[in-house]
Amino acid sequence: MTDRAEAGAPSDGLRYAAIVAVLLVGGIHLQQYDSILKDVPTIGTLFILNAAGAAGIALAIAGLRGRALALPALGGIALAGGAIVSVLIARYSAIFDYSEPTYRAAVVLSLAFEVGAVAILAALAAKSAK
């Protein structure tokens, strides 16, 4: 890695926080897929894809340094942000014939993880881009 690539290196603490945040987002999607959503058309598949995507992004954050970190950080923001938007659509309308009319505990926890991940990943992306 070049000095230029390392120039905007975020702290290790921020990278570790980003890894944990992304894994929490993926983890709750995996848990919800396995416990109740595996039989739900399309939504079940999207939940398992979210978990797989989160795993890939966490590995990329662990393995990359400097400005290269901006890419997985932005990917993580898209992953968590997309999940937030999807939950809100499901809350007030339907997405792929699926609705979440109530804020059950797993939905609230998922939203908390996703909002936290977006904030941490935004900080990571900003630090990496400097």
Partner: protein, 130 residues
Amino acid sequence: MDASATKRRALEVAVTAILIVAGGGLTLALTSGTGSSSAAAAPTGPAEMTDSVTIADFEYDPPSIQVSAGTEVSITNSDAAAHTITADDDSFDSGTIDGDAEGSVTFEEPGTYEFFCRFHVFMKGTVEVE
């Protein structure tokens, strides 16, 4: 990048991979067996004379019921997600039954009706009202 930095990066990737595998495995181990393996589908088989319906894993059980006109059918929702029993022609509607809660619906007019869940329209059932 020096050798120690390379070693450290490899270690972080390895630890992240272990977190993914261990966390994913733990999640699946803790929640496996709580969902069914069959996809929700249109009801098949003969209608069952009953005054109670259970909803579990995004399926009505039994999916086809037979009742006398004026019967109040009790509904037990075993899922975490909210559901309804709603007639295709809007002639009856249980209203929202929250997760792990009970509700009821009364079938007044004789005839054969198809019903579905307003929040998960892939969930389907039929009722024969005599």
